[in-house]
């Protein structure tokens, strides 16, 4: 079964096609890597699926439910969570609040009168321990190092317990120690039956992690398939390395 499917997706900015008639299907419980040179439409693809950027035409089908217009605030209802390429945390809030905030009521009155159940706090603790930031829980997010910020962001996504995770370059710029935590987190997701779509440049990591690889170039689908098979095709390597 497909966790995520897109059909004939189109997006253009001022006449330039960022995503051009793209159709894809990603199987449930797998890790799919989206690769391609800079400007090939990878981030735009994630932005379209998560509603940050409106779709020009085409359909996104998530867990069998189709959507033409996605509002960002409906995205979790489809079972999707994402991270951002340039880490976007709530800087002037504490680490613990950064995660707690996504666990609470979505409804105004609900949020106003909510009392945090032990359940929420326990979840935050679990996640923070997993990404190794429990010690830092009272620090402001802006005081963290780059790597810690990336980990906090993935932690925030993990807390959501969604079906599909869209991760925009989760490993970029991480030192080995933190990289290990991040890789483990992604593998855990697969192990618990979640679907992961990640944008990545590092071929070794893709070989290690990805079950499925999607290659984009200028917004078009260049190749798609099992990772070892796709990565061995010469035209893919050429397009990719020729950037």
């Amino acid at each position: 079964m497909n966790a995520l499917e897109i059909k004939k997706l189109v997006k253009h900015f001022d006449g330039v096609y960022a995503v051009d008639n793209l159709s894809l299907a990603i199987e449930k419980g797998k890790i799919a890597a989206v690769i391609g040179p800079n400007g090939s439409g990878k981030t735009t693809l994630i932005n379209l699926i998560s509603g940050i950027v409106p779709i020009d035409s085409g359909v996104v089908i998530i867990n069998g439910v189709g959507a033409r217009a996605i509002k960002p605030y409906n995205v979790p209802a489809y079972g999707i969570t994402r991270t951002f390429q340039e880490v976007r945390l709530f800087n002037q809030m504490t680490v613990i609040d950064n995660i707690l905030v996504v666990l609470t009521e979505r409804n105004v009155f609900g949020a106003l009168f909510e009392k945090h159940s032990a359940h929420h706090l326990k979840r935050v603790e679990e996640v923070l321990i997993k990404v190794g930031l429990w010690e830092k829980r009272s620090a402001l997010a802006q005081s963290l190092s780059y790597g810690q910020r990336k980990l906090l962001e993935i932690g925030r996504a993990l807390a959501m317990d969604s079906e599909v995770f869209l991760l925009d370059e989760p490993f970029a710029g991480l030192f080995p120690e933190m990289l290990k935590i991040m890789v483990a987190a992604v593998k855990d997701l697969r192990a618990s039956g979640k679907t992961v779509v990640l944008i990545e440049h590092n071929m070794d990591l893709i070989r290690e992690l990805a079950d499925h690889v999607v290659v984009l170039d200028s917004g078009k689908l260049l190749a798609e398939g099992k990772s070892e098979e796709v990565l061995s095709r010469p035209e893919v390597m050429e397009a990719y390395l020729g950037e």
Binding site: P72, Y73, V75, T81, T104, E105, V108, A111, F113
Partner: protein, 288 residues
């Protein structure tokens, strides 16, 4: 002593305005310069009802809040489309329009002539035309406003507000329809400003449009920036400082004709120096 009580009442009114505006500016990051409009709607509602119909003070406060909620709902709906400095300008515009309505809707507001002879409340046999009793009443309301604000900022709702301030798009993809949150806090702040307005009108007994100009909104903003953004105690402190400062300057004895301009100069310099050296304000927790 009467003078001190007078200042204490004014301070309390402005502390209410500051605390309520801080919810919008400090916690949610919406640089609103339209607060004086809501303050004015509250003032005018009370003034008109008290002078022209037999309605009592407290029902007039409630009606003032209701009218302000309606106005702030509509204004907030428009403003929610804007961000940052555009938000500031748009809200400035609404204050200008509200001022024009106060000035020009003469059948209702008497325009520039103002509304004189507004009475003070009476409740449970306590006569609030005694300024001291009145002070206790406003203080009690400040306490309520303060506690309500405290409750709001410490709730999950408040946490979402802060995340909107930090990165609205990011919190959206976690499933929050931020429009509702922004509207809700904007209306809550406006409603609190209306309470302050009702008390002001009743205490001062005379209001005219000149009390609700753009510069009044700027003054309230200065209160919260000085006291500290996203810090409720800071707003109270800011109001205390800015209400007392000109009064203290009355005692310092500058050459009289220059003193008042000096005060403006001091306000200006305070803003510049704060921005240069402490942009979050005295007690602030958040930098704009």
């Amino acid at each position: 002593m009467e003078y001190l009580i007078h200042l204490a009442i004014l301070f309390t009114v402005y502390a209410m305005l500051g605390v309520s505006l801080n919810l919008v500016v400090g916690y949610t990051g919406l640089l609103s310069l339209t607060h004086a409009a809501f303050y004015g709607i509250g003032s005018y509602t009370t003034a008109i009802l008290l002078t022209q119909s037999g309605v009592d003070f407290f029902p007039s406060v409630v009606l003032g809040i209701i009218l302000t909620l309606i106005a702030s709902f509509l204004i907030g709906l428009v403003l929610s489309k804007f961000r940052d400095d555009y938000y500031a300008l748009g809200s400035f515009g609404f204050n200008a329009i509200a001022f024009a309505v106060f000035l020009n809707w003469q059948n209702l507001t008497r325009g520039p002539l103002g509304i004189p002879g507004i009475s003070k409340p009476e409740l449970f046999g306590i006569d609030f035309s005694n300024n001291f009793n009145f002070l206790m009443l406003v203080l009690a309301f400040l306490g309520l406003v303060y506690l309500a604000s405290r409750f709001i900022v410490n709730s999950s709702f408040g946490r979402v507000l802060k995340s909107i301030r930090e990165d609205e798009e990011a919190i959206q993809v976690f499933g929050y329809n931020t429009l509702y949150f922004k509207l809700a806090v904007f209306m809550i702040g406006a409603g609190m400003a209306a309470i302050a307005g009702s008390f002001f009108a009743s205490y001062i007994t005379f209001i005219d449009p000149s009390g609700f100009t753009l510069m009044e909104s700027v003054f309230i903003l200065v209160i919260i920036i000085l006291g500290g953004l996203a810090n409720l105690r800071g707003s109270v402190l800011g109001a205390l400082f800015l209400i007392l400062l000109p009064e203290i300057l009355r005692f310092v004895g500058f050459p009289s004709s220059v003193a008042a301009q000096m005060r403006q100069l001091v306000y200006g310099l305070i803003l510049i120096l704060l921005m240069l050296y402490r942009p979050q304000g005295l007690l602030g927790e958040y930098k704009i």
